[in-house]
């Protein structure tokens, strides 16, 4: 049984003055996520990531397709006891304190009253908010709110956790802490489905990723495999700034410190680069093959359709 199985899920929005035209926010999506996986859902802003999550949570209704979560219909209310959701840039009832909010949510998710107090204090400790006491949420900073958000997503000990841009708006320290939290959730065996546009986070945490762009799935696979697919660059360092102009178009991100120039080049262009440098009289210092990054894969996938469209 897959943890999440999405079959042909699609969402069109009627647009235009008379609401006659349809804008596809999500084109039919097929996706499966296995239990215990950390799955990254990547895409630029407006790609359809949040739309997908809202569809799965029943916040909006699909125009086509279906999905199952833990084997049950995704709209089944009982299955919602076993999942947690952190929306993007969350906002909570600001007149409540953190323990009150968690108590309310825990109750709605079916946690027995007797267990709640214990769980609340342990969850608050886990997200690093054990000393907020009865401070009202309206006084929380963004980072604290994000942590409350994670707390409410896990208070009822769900099997799957859905996170929408969990790092947004956090400072580096906050991001580090959230990353550690997600890692610890993963270590507990929870399935994590998290959408983001920050690739380094996905690279660090996820087993598999999918790339979505303009409502369409562009690519999916295991992170390492995807990276090696695009491992076709090398870093070249030489001495001789006078050569830089000649080879500028072959390099990406050229960097000059005094006479030393450093740049990245596609392997297919490597020979030409070395030729040119030699002919310009530059002194080669090093050539290092680079690992592909997820960013390369991402850029490749988001750009290829545009090339086709053009």
């Amino acid at each position: 049984m897959h943890a999440i199985e999405i079959r042909g899920l699609a969402k069109d929005y009627p647009v235009g003055f008379w609401k006659r035209k349809l804008h596809p926010a999500l084109k039919p999506l097929d996706l499966t996520v296995e239990s215990g996986e950390a799955f990254g859902f990547l895409g630029p802003n407006g790609a359809g990531k949040t739309t997908t999550l809202k569809l799965l949570m029943g916040i909006i209704f699909p125009t086509a397709g279906s999905a199952t979560i833990l084997g049950k219909n995704f709209l089944d209310h009982e299955v919602k006891r076993r999942l947690g959701f952190l929306p993007e840039q969350p906002y909570f009832y600001d007149y409540l304190s953190a323990p009150e909010l968690l108590d309310y949510y825990a109750g709605l998710s079916g946690v027995a009253a007797a267990d709640r107090k214990k769980r609340i204090s342990s969850v608050l400790e886990r997200v690093g908010l054990s000393d907020v006491g009865s401070k009202q949420l309206r006084k929380f900073s963004k980072g604290m709110l994000q942590r409350v958000g994670i707390a409410q997503a896990i208070i009822h000990e769900p099997e799957i956790v859905f996170l929408d841009e969990p790092m947004s708006g956090l400072d580096p320290l906050g991001r580090h802490e959230v990353r550690e939290l997600i890692q610890s959730l993963k270590d507990e065996g929870k399935t994590i489905f998290f959408s983001t546009h920050i690739l380094s986070d996905a690279e660090a945490l996820c087993d598999r990723v999918a790339v979505i762009h303009k409502g369409e799935l562009r690519g999916i696979g295991v992170v390492n495999d995807l990276r090696s697919n695009v491992a076709n660059k090398s870093e070249v360092i030489w001495e001789g700034a006078q050569a830089a102009a000649a080879v500028r178009e072959l390099l990406s991100e050229p960097h000059a410190t005094g006479e030393t120039v450093r740049g990245t080049v596609q392997n297919s262009d490597l020979d030409r680069l070395l030729e040119t440098l030699r002919s310009q009289g530059a002194r080669l210092i090093s050539v290092t093959p680079l690992h592909g990054t997820l960013e390369d894969y991402f850029l490749a996938k988001t750009r290829e359709q545009e090339a086709v469209n053009r």
């Binding site: 209704f61 219909n73 709209l75 089944d76 209310h77």
Partner: protein
């Protein structure tokens, strides 16, 4: 969305059931309240001036609302042949305080007030006061003089005041010539039932209220019957003079050449000839306004 279907159906059914139930409950409530509506409730506030101040500039809208209530009040009691129309005068007072130019309230309301029971409140003096208020506030509306004259003549039997009213009305610029005719009739033929008939006919043709139309028709048919009866009794009188005793049946009169056939009333029923020579309608309830004038008045 399959899981939602069940909820949607149940909720839709609930909606229909509850709404229908609420209508039923509401009718019961209104029944209950019918027994308990108090003066204060119907009027909300007994003073027209107070209402006007509170109406925040929407006084003419409120006037319309109060007029609607007055009509409803009158209409429902009229159907029930009520004997008292206590709230009518206060309602009309408030209505016309709120909107002094609501002509229909003066024209129809005063007739509701002046008519004898059970057709109206039998308060002709108040009716006169109301119409005069209307004339004060709307001096160019000459038809109100007609209403005034009508009330004076028909309900107060005050020919002189009626004549004055028609005279004054005829002098208002734009008044139709028959106002002068009416004034003249008051002076010369005030005792003649045809004058009343003329007035009622005008009312019938000009009024907008269906209850008043109804009353006018009944008055007119009664007048018609009354004229018939007086003419017939003249014939029976002639017969008695000629033969020494009153006729025993219509055939006697026909044989005597005083009638062409059996006379029928406006309802189509033959008149009844009584032993003393007087004539009656078959069903007096259908002609409630027949007056028995003393013989000297009948010319």
């Amino acid at each position: 969305m399959n899981l939602n279907r069940k909820t949607t159906w149940i909720t839709a059914l609930l909606l229909v059931a509850l709404l229908s139930g609420s209508v039923v409950a509401r009718r019961r409530v209104e029944q209950q309240r019918g027994n308990q509506a108090t003066l204060e409730e119907v009027l909300y506030l007994p003073s027209g001036k107070a209402v006007k101040r509170l109406s925040l500039g929407y006084s003419s809208l409120l006037a319309d609302i109060y007029w609607t209530r007055a009509v409803q009040y009158f209409g429902s009691r009229h159907i029930a042949h009520a004997e008292r129309y206590d709230l009518l005068a206060p309602l009309l007072e408030i209505t016309t305080d709120l909107d002094p130019h609501l002509i229909v309230a003066y024209e129809n309301g005063s007739i509701f007030l002046s008519q004898q029971q059970p057709d109206g409140a039998a308060q002709p003096d108040q009716a006169v006061a109301l119409v005069e208020k209307g004339i004060r506030n709307n001096p160019t509306y000459w038809r109100l003089y007609f209403t005034l004259g009508f009330i004076h003549y028909v309900d107060r039997h005050d020919t002189k005041s009626a004549q004055e009213a028609f005279e004054k009305g005829s002098e208002v610029p734009g008044a139709l010539p028959w106002m002068k005719v009416m004034a003249a009739r008051m002076a010369e033929k005030s005792d003649d039932p045809s004058t009343a008939g003329y007035l009622w006919k005008t009312i019938l043709e000009t009024t907008t209220d269906k209850d008043i139309k109804q009353t006018a028709i009944m008055h007119l048919t009664s007048l018609h019957a009354q004229a018939d009866i007086e003419a017939l009794e003249k014939r029976t009188g002639i017969y008695e003079q000629r033969f020494g005793k009153p006729p025993e049946s219509w055939s006697d009169l026909i044989r005597a050449g005083l009638l062409n056939g059996v006379p029928t009333d406006p309802d189509g029923q033959p008149y009844k000839l009584r032993l003393d020579g007087t004539v009656q309608v078959q069903d007096p309830k259908k002609f409630p306004y027949i007056e028995r004038r003393p013989k000297e008045q009948i010319k």
